[in-house]
């Protein structure tokens, strides 16, 4: 199997990551540098998923997105979410996608007109929606970035099992996961067992 990235692609990737880190550092110090790095990793991985013809490379792009969002969760002081994202998604879901990419035939390259028009339409709609949300009153009342945070993983865990808070939702999520597990096993059974 040929390398995942050609030399020029690796050079572009390294340069982009370094530039994003440097710009973030100049704008907002160490936190900005980390944000630039993780945001570019997440968005760059998504771009690879969108533009890459090979399913295997797109799956690796998805893994990069999960790693980037893990870093962003850490910057948002959501350590439990970051560990969940890392273990379940960057570890499990990305592995599933890479495994599936070995068995799914690659499609022909999407037409430039179709891809370009879809990207233009979706990005303009999302930008308009984001602009409308940013001008709303609830958005304007955001706490500053250095405001102390009053919650941590322990309090989240207590909230999930508190009967007055999220225990019902937590139980439903557990049922959903069990159903998904059984369904995945059923779908993955061999043809002889199915017959």
């Amino acid at each position: 199997m040929s390398g995942l990235l050609s030399r020029s692609q690796a050079l572009v990737l390294a340069t982009s990551l370094a530039a994003a880190t440097l710009v973030g550092a100049l704008l907002a110090g160490k936190e900005g540098a980390a944000f630039g790095l993780f945001a570019l990793l997440a968005i760059g991985g998504g771009a690879v998923c969108l533009l890459e013809r090979s399913s295997l490379r797109a799956a690796f792009g998805l893994c990069a997105t999960f790693l980037g969002t893990t870093g962003l969760f850490l910057l948002l002081e959501s350590d439990f979410l970051a560990v969940t994202q890392l273990t379940i998604f960057a570890g499990g879901v990305a592995s599933l996608a890479i495994f599936g990419a070995r068995f799914v035939p690659s499609e022909s390259a999407p037409s430039f007109l179709r891809l370009g028009s879809t990207i233009a339409l979706v990005f303009s709609a999302c930008a308009f929606a984001a602009w409308r949300c940013a001008s709303s009153a609830s958005f304007q009342g955001a706490k500053p970035a250095d405001a102390p945070l009053a919650s941590d993983a322990g309090k989240l865990g207590v909230a999930l099992v508190d009967p007055r808070q999220f225990v019902v939702g937590f139980e439903l999520a557990a049922v959903l996961l069990v159903v998904a597990l059984v369904a995945a096993i059923w779908f993955a059974r061999s043809s002889e067992e199915a017959g």
Binding site: G46, S55, F66, L76, L96, A101, S106, Q165, A184
Partner: protein
């Protein structure tokens, strides 16, 4: 970094995922696009939990989004593999008829 920076990243990720779902003609890529969309949603919840509060509720919602995304991937990818094995193609446009 403020709330706006994280929301910009989230919007970009959501848009990329939506483009992947709409423009790609491969079932596995469509599933990957859905994963991007759900990752953007969970990032949104976490960002608002950090900057608006209450932090616990926002993170609980993000956790539920992650659970749904994991369940979707666990079921969807075996379905795609079974479909590809039986039909030989992964194009969504090929599955436009119910079984007769």
């Amino acid at each position: 970094m403020g709330l706006g920076a994280y929301l910009c990243a989230s919007v970009a990720l959501f848009a990329l995922g939506l483009c992947c779902v709409l423009a790609r003609r491969n079932l596995l890529h469509v599933l990957m696009g859905l994963q991007l969309v759900l990752a953007a949603a969970s990032l949104d919840f976490a960002a608002f939990a950090r900057f608006h509060g209450p932090a616990t509720e926002g993170r609980a919602m993000a956790l539920f989004v992650l659970v749904v995304a994991a369940a979707e991937a666990a079921v969807g990818i075996p379905i795609v593999l079974r479909v590809v094995k039986s039909s030989g193609t992964a194009k969504p446009s090929a599955f436009d008829r119910l079984r007769e």
